[in-house]
Subunit: 357 residues, 2 copies
Amino acid sequence: MAQQHLDPPTSSVAGTAPRAPAPLDEGGAPIGDALAGYLRAQATEFLRSLRQHRETGAAASGAGESGDAARSLRRSARRISGSLHTFRPLLDADWSEGMRPELAWLSGTLAREHAYAARLERLLGALNRLSGTAVVPAQAGRAPAAAPRTGNLTVGAAKAGALLDRQLTLARTRAHSAALQALGSSRFHAVADSVAVLASEVPLAPAANTTDLRPLAAAAQDRLTDAVTALPLVVAGLPYNAEALVHGLSADTAPQPQDAPWHQVRLLLRLHRYASEALHQGECPVDVRLLGAGKALNRHRDAAEAASAAASAARTPRIAPATAYALGVLHADQRHEVEAARFAFQQAWQKEAVRTP
Amino acid sequence: MAQQHLDPPTSSVAGTAPRAPAPLDEGGAPIGDALAGYLRAQATEFLRSLRQHRETGAAASGAGESGDAARSLRRSARRISGSLHTFRPLLDADWSEGMRPELAWLSGTLAREHAYAARLERLLGALNRLSGTAVVPAQAGRAPAAAPRTGNLTVGAAKAGALLDRQLTLARTRAHSAALQALGSSRFHAVADSVAVLASEVPLAPAANTTDLRPLAAAAQDRLTDAVTALPLVVAGLPYNAEALVHGLSADTAPQPQDAPWHQVRLLLRLHRYASEALHQGECPVDVRLLGAGKALNRHRDAAEAASAAASAARTPRIAPATAYALGVLHADQRHEVEAARFAFQQAWQKEAVRTP
């Protein structure tokens, strides 16, 4: 069971749906029924995760089984939403357009708690690496209240860790409450009802019985390829190009405008992956190159947000200079992680281009 | 003339000495006379630079012709000292052992002023890159006296620039005075007298007429190769290994113990180069691979010292958190330059290994 809660990158359709070959039209093309099968499977998985989430107790703070269930919920919501977008012409337009923002709201709300926890873990891990000692939250809390002015750097790291722990734990707690509130809201119940309908009866458009899924999936791939082509990949492929930290001290750092095209590619890569899943229905081979590219972009996003959190913590009033110094080192470290992730993406993507000429 | 003041990496013997083929023994091996010719040429260049330095006025602060002359003086002093070391068995032992520390003292004293100026330039250049605005010393000086607590990052960068400018300009001024004092000292006059003797009569040992220079030069190359073999080149060859910033926030950062073997290789590479020059006397081809390796190690040293200067400035009492934050970013940026330089060295050295199997 546990394995289903992970997010396999180019996975088979997860969950309880039967794994049948994709329905084809008379000419052998996958059509509306194939999409309906994929959407039903995702909807079923969504409902299963929701049930599990309620059973394991939503009060648990994002960890353990409850966290797994929330992740699984988000995973299905993303796949349903992505498919509604990519295969829009095959679906009832009003229903589809009404559902997408609701799914986005839900997965966004559910993602936040986990994101804050992961960000804190990433930043404390980096501080440990940078200071050569364990700056675990507990230890960070025991740091002296006033750092000596002359700045013991390790004290700075411990105080920076304590500050980040305080800020991100607070944010996480708030996100947890918001998620609980969302799951009890009538807005959520409306989404769940829509998904329940989807699990039994996908509202296909009349065109669905004659429309080939493949051109729509190919269009999703084209949008990805175009967006990748617009990335500064030549620079990203030169190690230590020092681009990610450019303007790292300029007045308006958060969010870095240079990150946006990479975040966009991350979303388009996901849509491409979901489109392949819908097309191949459980017989989709794992593409290790796309997997590598996707992992690099996840790391890019995580590091960018961690860098931003460090910069933001440094703007806390009345912090000691040693704390601010440690946060500066940490910010730059995470921006270099951003650069490293772009390099990793470039390397993975190059291989991809060679494989599919 | 100006070209002679530069420091060509695997150059011909510079300066006024005649460029004759190296004297050989009956079997065709370069022996003591070849070494004597090289040392005489370097000694002549030393005296010429000294004369030029006096003429252009030692009061100029390390820039322009006076700076060129000082650089040229150091350049000859390093070559003489290095040759005394590598070809020790061919030279009068007492004289040679007395002279080396004096030459080291002289080139060390003369190098410091330039080093502080270059370090400041490197750090202000990095701050400009990081802040997206010109943090030139003049502008840095105009930064508001008190940064807002909430930390405008650009203000932090400007204040960090002003602080570094103040500290490194003071250090540079002191180094300039120390250099002037050294050049007027009886200790310096004794060194200059020894070099003047060297320019006419190299004190060779009796063995010099029968000793082949090549095994001694080969031993210098072996010491280099052994030291390079001991470097963590596999890690250095993996881009973004994040090694240079490890322990960047530990209590004892200056100097980083991990840098020492690289600095050592830099010195051994120089000794190897000087030994080749002595062996080939003006007919030494430029080895672009060793040139690349040497440049990478210079960059490594410069970035390591700049990172250390940023960390040290952050320990200044009563600085604003925004200033400390900017110095932290700057420190990490320069430590990544250190890592980039190691990668560049690894790449250059790999090519070298392929070329000379």
